[in-house]
């Protein structure tokens, strides 16, 4: 008994040894750039604060950029200026653009030497999404996906059953219809059954659920597949939510009050987003709410949302930056972010622990995020993906707001993105 305690103690010492050795070598200042709303940023601030206590030799400056598209441009400008932040949080849909330009440091060597980070401890889907050209360019913090946040009070009021596992498009539509209401009797709706952004990343799960692929070849994509008959069906269903059924706000209504605000203000019943809105909803929602999986059609499917910690090649303090990346993705770091509600941890052990699943922390059914992992699909990695996505989104938006018919929108999205795939 006594021996084993000494043995454990020795092992602990051994584990600490490399950390002690490397500590003096990696001091100094680093900057860490993140995107997100105030509640999300508070989450990252907690992570940084804890890190500072354990690593007083490294000072971390947090740079926050609220909008994702501003964030991307900020990063590009910084990289072009030769002075990017030392640690940047990048979505996997954007990593290829930076990695292919050689702007990110491959982390394989750091990983091989690390005693805290093991690839096997992470969900493989999420880890693989941050490889480029065979190299690991970022460490994923999460394995989030598109889900539905629903306002239980509105469901109760309307006497509609909560979304159940395995529910279908038809179930979803009829629930949304029952939850869309003209509250003040002026002839237009103020409460909507659903709120969803008309974007490629939102329509993608519907395309997969209908039984189509999104691109012709995931490893080597050359075109979008939005012109298959299944994808066209999905596009029609998605766009008719607005144009035919009016269960989501039209362009004017969305401009007056964005769906996220409308949900927080208690007038959207089902809001589509990834895990990242949880801190904001926890802070702002004054009603009871929960999460549900997406409805399904021919098959169930959802879409991976993941952000990774990356180390720009131009960073001047890579060792200290790696110490931070390592900490952020250690069990301790991932626990902190999971507690704030921001992430679905990419570390399997934390994701399956009460830290993430505790039903007393809303949403009560965080398990949904883990249940959908087997049916999760991943967007292809392509340097021009931002262009492809933006262009397709423009067409989808047009169809969604009834400026053109769904088939035309889907076909145009395919045509207009083709050149970006081939890198003309």
């Amino acid at each position: 008994m006594k021996n084993s305690i000494i043995f454990l103690f020795l092992i602990a010492l051994l584990a600490l040894l490399p950390a002690c050795q490397s500590a003096p070598a990696s001091g100094g200042k680093i900057s860490f750039m993140v995107f997100g709303e105030p509640a999300e940023l508070a989450a990252y601030q907690r992570l940084v604060d804890t890190f500072q206590q354990e690593h007083p030799e490294i000072q971390v400056e947090v740079i926050q950029v609220p909008g994702q598209s501003d964030y991307r441009k900020r990063m590009a400008a910084d990289i072009a200026a030769g002075s990017p932040a030392d640690v940047v949080l990048v979505n996997y849909r954007r990593q290829a653009a930076f990695a292919s330009a050689g702007a990110l440091t491959p982390l394989d060597d750091y990983l091989a030497k690390s005693t805290t980070l093991k690839e096997a401890d992470f969900y493989p889907q999420s880890f693989a999404a941050f490889k480029w050209d065979g190299k690991q360019v970022c460490i994923p913090q999460n394995i989030s996906s598109l889900v539905i946040y629903y306002n239980k009070a509105l469901f109760d009021q309307a006497g509609v059953a909560y979304p159940a596992p395995g529910w279908t498009w038809a179930d979803f539509l009829s629930a949304a219809q029952a939850l869309t209401k003209d509250l003040n009797g002026d002839g237009t709706n103020e409460q909507f059954g659903a709120g969803i952004d008309p974007e490629l990343i939102r329509i993608a799960p519907f395309v997969w659920q209908a039984g189509s692929d999104l691109v012709d070849d995931d490893a080597n994509p050359t075109t979008l597949m939005l012109d298959t008959s299944e994808a066209l069906d999905a596009g029609k269903f998605f766009m008719e939510l607005q144009t035919a059924h009016h269960v989501v706000p039209n362009a004017e209504q969305e401009a007056a009050e964005a769906s996220e605000s409308r949900f927080l203000n208690g007038r959207t019943a089902m809001y589509f987003n990834s895990r990242r809105v949880v801190p904001t909803i926890r802070e702002a929602a004054k009603f009871d709410w929960d999460v549900a999986a997406l409805p399904q059609e021919k098959t169930a499917a959802t879409i991976l949302h993941a952000d990774g910690y990356c180390l720009p090649s131009a960073s001047k303090n890579k060792d200290a930056a790696w110490v931070f990346i390592e900490f952020a993705n250690s069990a301790e770091g991932q626990t902190i972010l999971a507690q704030t509600g921001r992430t679905v941890p990419s570390l399997i052990s934390i994701a399956e622990s009460p830290v993430f699943l505790d039903p007393s922390n809303k949403p009560a059914h965080s398990q949904v995020f883990l249940d959908v992992i087997p049916t999760m699909r991943v967007l292809p990695l392509h340097p021009a993906w931002a262009d492809i996505e933006d262009t397709a989104t423009q067409e989808i938006t047009r169809g969604f707001y009834g400026e053109t018919d769904p088939y035309d929108a889907m076909l145009r999205a395919v045509q207009r993105t083709r050149d970006y795939f081939t890198g003309k």
Partner: protein
């Protein structure tokens, strides 16, 4: 002695000349070079000759942005000049309240662009914005403004019409230079107000109008950036996608600095062309009466 004086004059001018070289001439030179290269901001630029320009010729977004910019400029410059002219004529008479009227007419020009864009985003909100609520109160048609492809540019032109303070000042200065007795003698000759205006005021004002419109053309090119960035992000469906936004996104979203520089050069060439066209237009028209 003389050379010492020259050295001193040169010292007075040095910051300006240095700035003009460092901030204008040098960047312009680099733009010229970069526009012939493929450059992602990270790796070294690769010379590609005219490829950037050839690709732009078949890039639909480039044409959309250029045409949008030209549509905006033609509408905004014309209407803004007319608005400034009207205000200047109205507020030219020295009267007690005139100073206050001028100050208030200038006031919207003082609002910072970002705040101004946000305010108008609210004013133009199709459902709850004060403008449409007012239009509906009078039973007038209330367009969806920034969410309607046909009304988005007119909406941005409309908001630019409230910021004509600088034009007002320039034209007031011009009107002050017109001798009063010239107008008086015209009136004695029996000319009515309209005739005096077209025969005397307008020709004498034309140098100032040239200054104003030329300046407005140059400014209108770049001034579309803030409204497009804050209010519409170029939408709906590229309706407000202007050249500056395209340059910005080409460089910082698509990491194509070479192509961005090529667009900058084209914008510059188009501006010069417009300025020269305006100059010749005014020249022929201003000297008609002589």
């Amino acid at each position: 002695m003389i050379s010492a004086r020259r050295a001193q004059i040169f010292a007075l001018l040095a910051p300006y000349l240095m700035g003009a070289f460092l901030l204008v001439a040098l960047p312009a030179g680099i733009s010229l070079y970069v526009s012939f290269t493929r450059y992602d901001g990270v790796s070294t630029p690769v010379w590609v000759g005219l490829q950037n320009f050839q690709l732009l010729r078949i890039e639909p977004l480039f044409w959309v942005a250029l045409i949008n910019s030209l549509i905006y400029i033609s509408q905004a410059v014309l209407l803004r000049t007319l608005a400034a002219l009207g205000l200047a004529l109205l507020y030219n008479q020295p009267r007690r309240a005139t100073g206050l009227y001028r100050a208030i007419a200038y006031l919207p020009t003082v609002i910072p662009d970002t705040a101004y864009a946000l305010v108008w985003l609210w004013i133009l909100n199709p459902l709850y914005g004060p403008l449409n609520l007012a239009l509906r109160a009078f039973n007038l048609p209330a367009p969806a403004w920034l969410t309607d492809t046909r009304w988005a540019i007119p909406a941005i032109v409309l908001m630019s019409l409230f910021q004509v303070g600088e034009g007002l000042v320039i034209l007031l200065a011009g009107l002050r230079h017109i001798p009063r007795d010239l107008k008086d003698s015209a009136r004695v000759d029996g000319a009515n107000a309209l005739q005096t205006f077209s025969a005397i005021t307008l020709p004498l004002l034309s140098p100032w109008l040239i200054l104003l419109t030329v300046r407005d053309v140059v400014l209108s090119f770049q001034n579309t950036f803030t409204p497009a960035y804050i209010m519409t992000r170029g939408g709906p469906y590229y309706a407000t996608y202007f050249a500056p936004l395209l340059i910005y996104e080409t460089a910082f979203d698509r990491l194509r600095f070479g192509q961005g520089a090529a667009i900058m050069l084209i914008v510059f060439a188009v501006t010069i062309f417009l300025v020269l066209a305006l100059y010749f237009f005014f020249e022929s028209w201003g000297f008609d009466d002589d």
